[in-house]
Structures are given as structure tokens and as C-alpha cells.
Amino acid sequence: MAEIVLDGITKRYPDGALAVKDFNLTIADGEFVILVGPSGCGKSTTLNMIAGLEDITEGTLSIGGQIVNDRAPKDRDIAMVFQSYALYPHMTVRANMGFALRLAKVDKATIAAKVEEAARILDLTQHLDRRPANLSGGQRQRVAMGRAIVRDPKAFLMDEPLSNLDAKLRVQMRTQIAALQRRLGTTTVYVTHDQVEAMTLGDRVVVMRSGIVQQVGSPQHLYDAPVNLFVAGFIGSPGMNFLAATLEQNTVRTSLGDLPLDDCKRRALERANAPREVIMGIRPEDFEDAALVDDHGAGPVCTVTVDVRESVGSDVYVHFTESEGPAHSADLAEIAADSGLADTGAQEHRVVARLNTATRATEGAHLDLWINTPRIHVFDPRNGTNLTRRPDQSMN
């Protein structure tokens, strides 16, 4: 049984800096959990604490039912894959993969058998006697995984293992990792800053920010029902658009027009004592070219001037400027800083819409945009909370 339980885990550095605060999570045996967040959010620190490479200031960590706070990494029966792979340069692939078993004084025959088996699974058999320096990036990554598999541990811990690969290879390896984990059934904790990896690989995703867990849930759940501005803006690419808005009786008044609120949302907003000034969030795919929408999709339409049109083959993205200026919030500022948007000096507030390729939108021309109003989110600008999150969506 390889359940991992983190109970109130906190990491505080000697100088007082708080890296991880009160991290609570129960990872079931065989589950694939992803820790995702911007750099400095504490995800790697958490992983290191699970591994035993950093000590835990407060809280308990249990692996397989036993509390392991004080145990050295080697006594925790976990295996780790590092971002840089950390392969031993002076050893062959075979020796690299067999190193841990050698240290555990396993007999040679067993080591050889296990290494051969792992090499077979990872398609490394022909490379077993080569040195890491003579391998390609993808091969090295597989050796790093092989080193972990050979030990048949209670859990795999992976620290951004795909970051050093080029884009195409990354996509390939992603599916390989997913297939491998399904086949072996080992509990896996995976750290990444890439939300696409998070969405595609995990059974559950933990979004972290500044050491605090923002939300835990399945990828789709995080996408559909983000608990706050940060999660909403972090998950999904291109990210959710945020606009300043005011709440009137039954509508949300934005620069794109007055959007009617359905009953659910209205009730949720009343219950939450929503302020007048709010932030409205809408994802690019919840826009469409009004000319392409049939009457059943009745909803408000706004007219905008297209600044930039991008076609990626399967979709068309149009960027336009919203007249009233951007929504303000500390959270948004942080997202902008993280994504580098703040440094681009872009003054105007750009909104992105995703349209069907049949659209006739062109740069510089006007465009009528239909807005899928039921799909909008309303956030409290003071603390970023998603005010329109439905109660039945709050399960993990």
C-alpha cells in the first residue's frame, strides 16, 4: 500500500521565509498527482520534503501508513526523477540503473534481471552499455526513469522531468510517462510549471501559489470551476480574459455590453454578498463570431475592432482591445508578472477570443462577437474568490 498523506506540512527557512504553508493532501495508492504553479510557489520544495531532501518544519508526512518525517531518503522507499536527470556520468546506463540496488546490497543476479526488465519496458536495451554523455536528451530521460523503475518503489517523485526536452519530444514523452504510470500502477507525484502537462497527465492537480494550495481537483474540474482568480487565470491557454465589471440587478455590466445573469448565478452572488465592482472572467472559447452562430444560441453580441488575428490551423484567435481599461487586482498583477506580460509594456487591455476557422474576421475590421453568457465567471476583486462557483462544483 503506497498511500501518501501530507498533514499540515509546513516549511519555514531559518531566516523566516515561508516556503510551504499548511499543505494537506491524501494521495491514494496508484494515483497520479500533479503539483503545478508558477516558479517559487513551493511545489519543488514540497516534493523535496516528500523525498526527504528537505526537512519538514511542521506537520506529518506518511508513506504507506508510516510516518516518515525523520527518515532519510533511502529509508522512504521512493524514487526520484530530476529535472537535469542527474545521471552518473562515469557509469554506464546499466550501472546507473543498478546503482540503488547495489547500495542496498541486492545480489548481482537480481540486479541484472531487474535492470534488463526496466530497459525492456523503456526500450533502452541496446543502450545499456553506453555512457550518458553518448545519449540523446530523450534517451537520458528514459534512463532517469529507468533508474526509478528498477527500484520498484512505493512512489515516484518527478521534478519537472520534461523541462529540458524540446517541444515535440516533450509531447511524446508525456504520453509515455502517462502510459508507464498506468501500467506500473505506482503512486506518482509530479511537479511542473507547465499547465498543459498538468492538465494532460494528472488524475488530480494541485495548484499552488506562494506556498499555499489554491485548489485541488481533476483537471476538468479546475478548468470549469476555478475557485479563484489565480487558478482561473493559470489553467488554460490562452488564459481566461478578465474584465472590470459592475453588478446591476440582473446583469453584469461590462465594456462588452450588459450580460444577463441566470438564476443560479444571481443567487450565488446574493449569497456571497457580492460587491458592486467585480471582475468578470470569460474564456476565449466562450466567444464566437456572431455570423456563425444560429439563433438558438441567443445571447448578447458586442462589436469590436480586431487588432490581431492568429490562425493555428484548427482555430482562429482574434485579439481585440477592450475600451474601458483592464481589471485591477493584486492577483491579476501577479499572473501578469509571472507570465511576463507585465514586462512587455502592453498598455491596452487585450482580450482573446477563439473562433471557428470559418470566420471572416480580418485585422483592422469590425467584428460582431457573440458571448456565451452562462459560461462567464464573476470574481470578487478584493480577494479573487470566484463568486459564481456552484455549490455542487465544490467537490474535489
Binding site: 528537505e54 511542521e58 506537520g59 510516518i67 527518515r71 533511502k74
Partner: protein, 310 residues
Amino acid sequence: MTPATSLGDPAGKKTAKLFEGARQERRLGLLLCAPAAIVMLAVTAYPIAYAIHLSLQRYDLRFPQQAHWVGLSNYVAVLSSPFWWQALWVTVLITLVSVAIELVLGMALALVMHRAVFGRGTVRTAVLIPYGIVTVVAAYSWQYAWTPGVGYLAALLPQGSAPLTDQWQAIGLIILAEVWKTTPFMALLLLAGLALVPEETVRAAMVDGATFWQRLRLVVLPLMKPAILVALLFRTLDAFRVFDDIYVLTGGSNGTGSVSILGYDNLFTALNLGIGSAISVLTFLCVAVIAFVFIKVFGAAAPGGEPERR
């Protein structure tokens, strides 16, 4: 390894208890350093203290029973002696001039080696031989070269001149010997610093229209500043301790002795441990001042103190 112990402390408000891994690391670190630290401290700390102790005594090795405490009078004697000041002056002169020349020549050599198209191996070997050769051997080579009648270099000078016996000429030759030996080493240090200057920055300057000298002055040298300072620091300290070359070339006669030579003479020729030790301690203080100036005033990075990368 110790097993998990926190069953009695489940909600875990930990005190400053050291994590097992960190504890092992710490223990290993201290163990590994201990032998080297012990050797270094034992062989320097104690003798230094002892040197200071000796310097406060009147201790003539020919009459060891008569050694007695005289407080600072040795220091007074040394500091009021014209020999000390002359030796100090000679040392400072040799240091400043040789380091300056080494810096310039070394820089030139480094620039050449940096761009060397072929023959890198030859140049490197040629550069390392002065470094590897025993200093006294080189010194003897120079001595014979300059001795009238024996040496080919002396034959180049006007008849009858014996440069090693004239104070200024001898000092010049000592500087020459020092420069010959250590310029290659300086060149290597500077070459390493040169290699750190990003090629693209220099190219950008070229595209911006800078000439070779402008590029050198405005881009390369400023970026090399830390390396230059470190090289200067070590070379200056080394130069101040000059001994071997002077011993062989002139023996320190005719006013060419450095502070180290003066100390040696008092210790082993005059067998005066008190005065000799006083000179040693004063030399040490001078060196400390130089290092202090370099590190605090010029900001040379004291090597080895950079923070952990984890």
C-alpha cells in the same frame, strides 16, 4: 540509520531538531575538514604566536642562555634602522614595478593566447616552463648571463660594467628575473578571466563601431575586472615576499635586499632570533595591510566564500 521517532509527536510541532540527512552531512563535512584544518592551524598558528614571542626577546642563538624579555625594543630597533627602511623601500619598488609590468605583458600574452589560431600547445608549453622551472635555477641562469666575462648578456653591455654590483641596475635585473618567471602565470590567470567575457558582447561593440583599443578599454577590461583584481592580489602578495631571485643574483648586497632577505640575514647569518623575528612579524603586518587594502578598498573577491547552490 535511526528509525522514525515521531510517533509520540504526531501533529509535529518540531523544535530545531536536525533532520537526519542534514545531520549526516554536517558530520561528514566536519570530519573531512578536520585533518586539513588541524595541520594548517598547528603549523601556522603556533609558530606565529611563537614568532611574536621571540620578537619580544633579546635572543642571540650564540648565547641562548642569555635570552631575556625586552618588550618592544626589538621593534624599535628595527623601525629606527635605516636597513629596514631601505629593505622595505626596495621591496615596495620591486613589487610595484614587477607587478605592473607583469600585468601589462601578461594581458598582452593573454590576448595573443586567446586568439591563437594554431600552435596553442607550443605556446602553452612555452608559457608553463618558466612557471615550472625551479626559481633558483632560473636565477642562476640570469646571474651567469650578467656576470662579466661569463655571460652572453654581459658581453652585450659596455666593457667593464658589472650590472649586478650596481644598486639600480641590479634591482632592474632582479625585476627582470621576477617578471620573466611569473608573467606566464599572470597571463594564464588573465586568460581565464578573458574567456569569461561573452564573445557576443564584444561583437556587439564591434558592430557598434568600436576600434580594438576602444573595445579593450570599454568592454573587455571592465568585464574582466574581478579576475584582474584577484590576479593582482595574489601576485602582489607573492612579489612582496621576493627572496629566491635576490639571494642568487646579488645576495642582497649593495642595497638590493628585500625584507625577506633582511629577515633571513638576521636570523641565519647574525643568528639573532629576536631581531629576525621582529622583522618577520613586521613583514607579516605589511602583507596583511596589502590584502586588506585589496579586499576592502578595491573589492577583490575573496575566493571560496560564495554561497551554496542548491
